[in-house]
Symmetry: C2
Subunit: 468 residues, 2 copies
């Protein structure tokens, strides 16, 4: 089993890899950090016992949780070929990440494999993209999964209302209801209420699982089941990683090591974490991680009576593509970054570069290699070049890209995020900072009870006053 | 005409918008900055006269430059329905940005409009995504545009060699050649050489136009013509904006104002610039800008004998989506960001939210509004909420999303980037920092003459030594 695990390669975070002034870690420093990790470990164990870290237990969910998900996927697949997810943030990014990884970057451009539904995640209510989507769907063959824990998310609920009306007008109210599935809180909220009024199937988001940690709940699993992915393998990978991420030692638990390295460099001015998989199919994973890391660790926090603003800004990038877009900055710009590469040992179907143009030196060396060899060489060279300038990086090394190894990566990054929250002494599970924008929007939209926010918005508004 | 221009709204960069400690600009400060801008203006005028800023003149290119582009687009369109671009970085991002903006975020999921080719930009040679693309293409109906100024780009040239062999085997060598168009240097480089050996049409990248500034040259224009977009309107927009960006005054030239504000906040610890359009169709524009800003301004630079590392890391985000992913961090995280929103006055086809659930307070306020109203309210509320915490933002306000206004935005951001380079006293046109990674890759791939780099790579390599 061990050789089938995702590895955390951190050579270019060490003083050996980075040279004298690169602020790299030493074995002694990591050993010294174990004490902080011991505290974090205790706290996490306690939180898990109290049921506060629901995501950690999702890989162990038993069949009576999964059965309703599979049943809905089968039912929808029996008369629909497309599933549209109406959800935003944590209700969208997990399914996109896994589906893009497995069905491929170009999944929308070509036919799906037989028996799988096409998965379209509509996470933006603005009418251009959402309108284009609705105009082009064959509504008779399309189902909609509405995902919102509270059922108050303005974007998602607006989209739902538009879709409900559209379906009813096109197919009649009964056929409309058949094409809807809600994923929401098991007992409260608007969607649960509406599902009591009309017969709409409802799947549960466990109350102790926050949006950005919900990919392995029904939030991610229903869309992924519809898209034909192997839930058992995904959960098995997450389970094997959850076991490792329950170990106490900094050098046996990759989540603790990841968190320790990230916080080490964060405390040394690296306020940016670049997540850069060397595979376009994994761009969605980088975007999923960007929410996880940003929302969990970006926190205002009172420490010894003083307000501090913590956080490390995630940047989603892709190799080799962004070598020709971002790496100039990563090499020569400010020393403000830690880069996390994701590489594949085995790319699956490889492509051989034919031996053409053997008389041209600047081309002939390519022939005979494969595209995977080129990609892997570029990943190694980029990391080495960065390290030679004292710029740290680490790498998640995936044996292959499949459900099992994706499950591992998801769990590793979730556990690492919570551990980093522990090291920073902040709560990685809340998001109080989005409240103000939300209520100002209510004010602008004329929601009852938000008249004061409407006035506050008016006072803050400068639209057009300074404009060129 | 003026009311049809993209506006730069900078209220939340001012001391009025940000409050006391937000480091906002005052009218007096902007006036004082005019002196620095005068120097930059002189330098840019001089560079333009010497033909060093080719991108600035692209909107004025005459018909004998455009005719070969239109001819190739027409020829390819007569027997192909798909154009695949083989190119990376500046050879890919411009066409993607404009095509995504105009053909829509969901363009790959549905049929194109009649008469337009489907545009697939293959900017990553890794064999999973590239392999998926090749497997699914109907080669008989597919053309390939190979874009590389030097013809040595390892990624693009490898892809080209794979495609050439594939086409020849599938259709025979003559039919293969018919499906190829090169875009490259007018007189030198491998692609120009190969076009001399076999009859492959070749379009020019002007020597004084760098990759990331090349969207309005044949690099961007051939793919965009194939995809059915209106080149004349795109260039007209760029031309109208180029005129404004040639004015000397900081409060009459939006490029100078953008650059001044970005550098102002950069010098005050904002090492991150978030580009956040409130429209999924504009995500490609944000990624295009990310290369432009990163590669142009991310520079090691010797100032008074001391090495400084300059640059502002661009982050591509999308509203409203990333309000549920990144805004928590933007609101409460470190004071390290300047956000640039892009908004639309008119979203085109709008969607009305039906008046459902009038008995539920947390839903009833939505009905009767449109999706554009919701999106615009969220954009205003988010900017106001950020400003209330002393967090600066600006906004590009586009009257509509079409070729003409996109052309304006492209030119404004290119001119602003060069102006920012001038304010920072660095060369925004080069990218010396990517060289090391490139030659280390050559070493790993066994290219003749790079044996020393192979040894250096071996010395730097730590693969697997520190691994968990």
């Amino acid at each position: 089993m061990a050789e089938d695990m995702v590895r955390l390669d951190y050579g270019y975070c060490t003083s050996e890899g980075l040279g004298g002034d690169g602020a790299g870690v030493t074995p002694e420093l990591l050993q010294a950090r174990q004490q902080r990790i011991d505290q974090v470990h205790q706290r996490i164990a306690q939180q898990r016992k109290q049921g506060e870290l629901g995501f950690f237990e999702l890989p162990y969910q038993d069949d009576d949780k999964l059965q309703p998900i599979r049943e809905q996927a089968e039912r929808l697949g029996s008369f629909c070929d497309t599933l549209v997810v109406l959800g935003i943030g944590g209700s969208a990014l997990g399914a996109t990440a896994v589906d893009m990884a497995l069905a491929g970057f170009w999944r929308h451009a070509f036919e799906r494999k037989v028996g799988a539904m096409r998965l379209l995640v509509a996470d933006n209510p603005e009418p251009r993209s959402f309108g284009q989507l609705l105009e082009n769907l064959d509504l008779k063959r399309t189902a909609f999964n509405v995902i919102s824990k509270s059922g108050t998310t303005a974007e998602t609920m607006s989209q739902f209302m538009v879709v409900k009306e559209l379906l009813s007008l096109a197919l009649g109210p009964d056929e409309a209801l058949k094409r809807l599935v809600f994923t929401t809180d098991p007992s409260s909220g608007n969607l649960r209420l509406l599902a009591g009024r009309e017969p709409i199937p409802c799947l549960d988001v466990p109350p102790n699982v926050g949006g950005r940690f919900s990919v392995l709940s029904a939030v991610g699993l229903l869309p992924l089941a519809c898209a034909g992915h192997d839930l058992d393998a995904l959960l098995a990978g997450a389970r094997d990683m959850a076991e490792r991420c329950s170990l106490p030692g900094i050098l046996e638990n990759p989540a603790y090591l990841f968190a320790t390295l990230a916080v080490h460099f964060m405390n040394r001015g690296r306020n940016i974490l670049v997540m850069m998989p060397y595979c376009s199919d994994l761009f969605g994973l980088a975007q999923w991680f960007a929410q996880l890391w940003a929302e969990s660790l970006g926190k205002a926090h009172t420490l010894d009576g003083e307000l501090v603003n913590l956080g490390q800004t995630p940047v989603a990038a892709v190799g080799t593509t962004d070598q020709h877009s971002q790496v100039q900055l990563y090499m020569e710009g400010p020393l403000d970054k830690l880069v996390c590469f994701v590489t594949l040992d085995d790319y699956g179907n490889d492509l051989e570069i034919p031996r053409l143009y053997q008389d041209i030196d600047s081309l002939s060396y390519l022939g005979g290699h494969t595209m995977a060899e080129l990609t892997q060489a570029e990943a190694r060279a980029t990391a080495a070049a960065l390290a030679s300038q004292g710029r740290p990086s680490l790498a998640l090394r995936m044996p292959r890209l499949d459900e099992y190894h994706l499950g591992q990566v998801l769990m590793l990054l979730e556990a690492a995020t919570v551990a980093a929250g522990g090291l920073l002494k902040i709560n990685p599970l809340d998001q109080p900072g989005v409240e103000l924008g939300k209520v100002l929007t209510y004010g602008l939209m004329g929601r009852k009870g938000f008249e004061e926010q409407a006035r506050r918005m008016e006072a803050l508004d400068l639209s057009g006053k300074y404009q060129l």
